[in-house]
């Protein structure tokens, strides 16, 4: 899944550099990548979402 996230980021960067008129598409990829990052981290830490420390 990290591979997919990074491919989306790479395509978004190429849009910014080579096809700046595709701003909206690039921004959507940024948002999707961010959501993927949040989802994957949460999935990996689902047994204890908060840091394992005394609060």
């Amino acid at each position: 899944m990290e591979f997919l996230t990074l491919v989306l980021i790479l395509v978004a960067a190429l849009f910014i550099l080579r096809k700046p008129e595709k701003e909206q598409a690039a921004f959507r990829m940024l948002v999707v990548s961010t959501l993927l990052m949040i989802f994957l981290f949460s999935l990996a830490t689902r047994g204890g979402l908060l840091p394992g420390l005394n609060f």
Binding site: M1, E2, L6, A12, I16, L17, A26, M37, L53
Partner: protein
């Protein structure tokens, strides 16, 4: 780089320092932490990120990507918003990761150390710097930067953009080798990176059910509640046990500021010590009928003492109250202290005690367990505490702390003495007992359990339970004291049951441990 003719373009003019700084910041973030991670640590040293490290690295890459948006389209609010959200989430990810390893012993951690800190610590630091840098850059935003025009990129900005592409492309390669295509994803314990596919390991371990989310996981340990313990003496892990007859019953003759939580007796001064759940410390005479002195501790001053769960007399006329969180305070009765002097320590009756020490016991086996008792062994000059079970784990651990420096000297999980006829039921454990009061006499620890109202006798030399009896028909016990040949079992309602102290079993050579 040639600009596409279809895009509206304006040149970066003078005074656009904000874009230069942004380009340098993105270049630094891309090349130093992320570039070093993929090219040097990954491709050269063979380091593969764990799943959490992957997401933190991606967070940094996403902030850099937002930087590219800013360079091309200006610092629009939606980009600034995304950057703040990603950096905030990144700091959380870093803190979550540091939380797994930050309290380990010196030099310990996960994966490799760079300049004195492990990678996850650097991730936290990097996101923190990003937030500061974004705040500084926001101060430089002017209305002209928000005209919505697509900017042409100067040399530095183009270099930044293509450096980003190269670094992300390298990460795509590493991610494919290390984590695989969807639905495969990063692993908790990643395998060393290699370009050779025979060493690639794509895993679905993170998708394995149960997909159940919890906030604190094993840190969600509820505070002990002796009133909720199972009182049934017939259902204990040791099965049917002999009963100890209560020889007399009495009651605390003094009004307390809360429910009592432990009891101790000092033969030298013929006084009882009682602690309460409202931080009260009471010294009573040997008949439990009259009050010698009391005070109420400010448990929130400096060390959080929590709820008092254990009490014991020490030597030199001092006494200790231990919180269920294994924090403690040592006091000495005194008639020569002023109330003003003690303002910081005590909430009531401030001129009756001196505070000697206030700190925390550190444990290893008993870590992540609360305690509900304390005892002092004058011969061994040691303070004892015993763990109580919780919903996450059940383990009876006896911890011994040195009187001199209040540091852990020994911990053990008692086993059954195989010569006294005690046996655990199938899949039962001594950890089911909830020791809510303890006292040490002649090398024996007497521990009263609120669960199944059982008195355990533990030989501190052999670490074995040498006797166990039940005491039926008593309310939930919270404390235990030894006076003469009797044991005083204190309950939360202030009632006290007096039982004869079981005759100690002589210490003998250690036999094979039966758990």
């Amino acid at each position: 780089m040639t600009q596409p003719s279809s895009a509206p373009v304006q040149s970066a003019g003078k005074g656009d320092l904000i874009f230069t700084i942004t380009a340098l910041a993105v270049l630094f973030l891309t090349v130093v932490p992320v570039g070093t991670a993929v090219f040097f640590l990954g491709f050269v040293k063979g380091d593969s990120p764990c799943v959490m490290c992957w997401e933190q690295r991606i967070g940094m890459i996403l902030i850099s990507l937002v930087g590219l948006f800013v360079l091309r389209y200006g610092p629009k609010p939606k980009y600034v918003g995304m950057a703040v959200l990603i950096a905030a989430w990144g700091m959380f990810m870093g803190l979550r990761h540091v939380g797994m390893h930050g309290a380990r012993d010196i030099g310990q951690g996960f994966s490799i150390e760079i300049m004195g800190a492990h990678t996850y610590t650097w991730a936290l630091f990097t996101f923190w710097v990003c937030v500061i840098a974004m705040g500084a850059l926001l101060l430089m935003v002017r209305p002209a930067h928000l005209d919505g025009a697509v900017r042409s990129l100067n040399g530095l900005e183009r270099l930044t953009g293509w450096a980003f592409v190269v670094v992300v492309a390298a990460n795509v390669v590493q991610a494919f080798a290390s984590t695989g295509p969807p639905p495969f994803m990063g692993q908790s314990d990643p395998i060393r990176f290699s370009f050779n596919p025979r060493y690639w390991h794509w895993s679905l371990e993170e998708w394995k059910p149960p997909i159940k989310f919890a906030l604190r996981g094993r840190w969600a340990v509820a505070k002990p509640d002796v009133s909720a313990a199972d009182a049934d003496v017939a259902k204990g892990p040791l099965g049917t046990l002999p009963a100890l007859a209560v020889t007399s019953r009495t009651k605390l003759g003094v009004a307390l500021n809360g429910a009592p939580t432990d009891l101790a007796y000092d033969a030298a001064t013929d006084r009882f010590l009682v602690t309460t759940d409202k931080a009260g410390i009471y010294l009573l005479d040997g008949t439990l009928a009259s009050l010698d002195r009391y005070t109420v501790i400010d448990i929130g001053f400096a060390v959080d003492l929590g709820r008092f769960a254990g009490a014991a007399f020490l030597d030199k006329g001092e006494l200790i109250a231990v919180g269920e969180n294994k924090s403690f305070v040592v006091l000495a009765p005194s008639d020569s202290v002023s109330a003003d002097e003690n303002f910081r320590y005590f909430l009531e009756s401030r001129d009756k005690f001196r505070e000697i020490n206030r700190s925390r016991f550190g444990t290893v086996r008993a870590r992540m367990f609360y305690v509900s008792s304390a005892a002092y062994d004058a011969d061994a000059k040691s303070i004892y505490a015993v763990t109580v079970p919780n919903s996450i784990a059940k383990r009876l651990v006896v911890s011994r702390f040195d009187r001199k420096d209040f540091t852990l000297s020994e911990e053990f999980v008692p086993a059954l003495d195989d010569s006294v006829g005690l046996a655990l039921g199938k899949e039962r454990s001594l950890g089911e007992y909830m020791v809510s009061g303890a006292v040490v006499v002649d090398g024996m620890m007497y521990a009263i359990s609120a669960a199944h109202r059982t008195l355990l006798t533990i030989n501190l030399a052999t670490h074995r339970v040498v006797a166990a009896q039940v005491i039926p028909d008593i309310p939930a016990p919270v404390g235990l004291a030894a006076k003469g040949t009797d044991l005083y079992v204190l309950s939360a309602d202030g009632s006290i049951a007096v039982v004869p102290r079981p005759v100690p079993v002589p210490a003998r050579p250690a036999a094979p441990v039966k758990r």
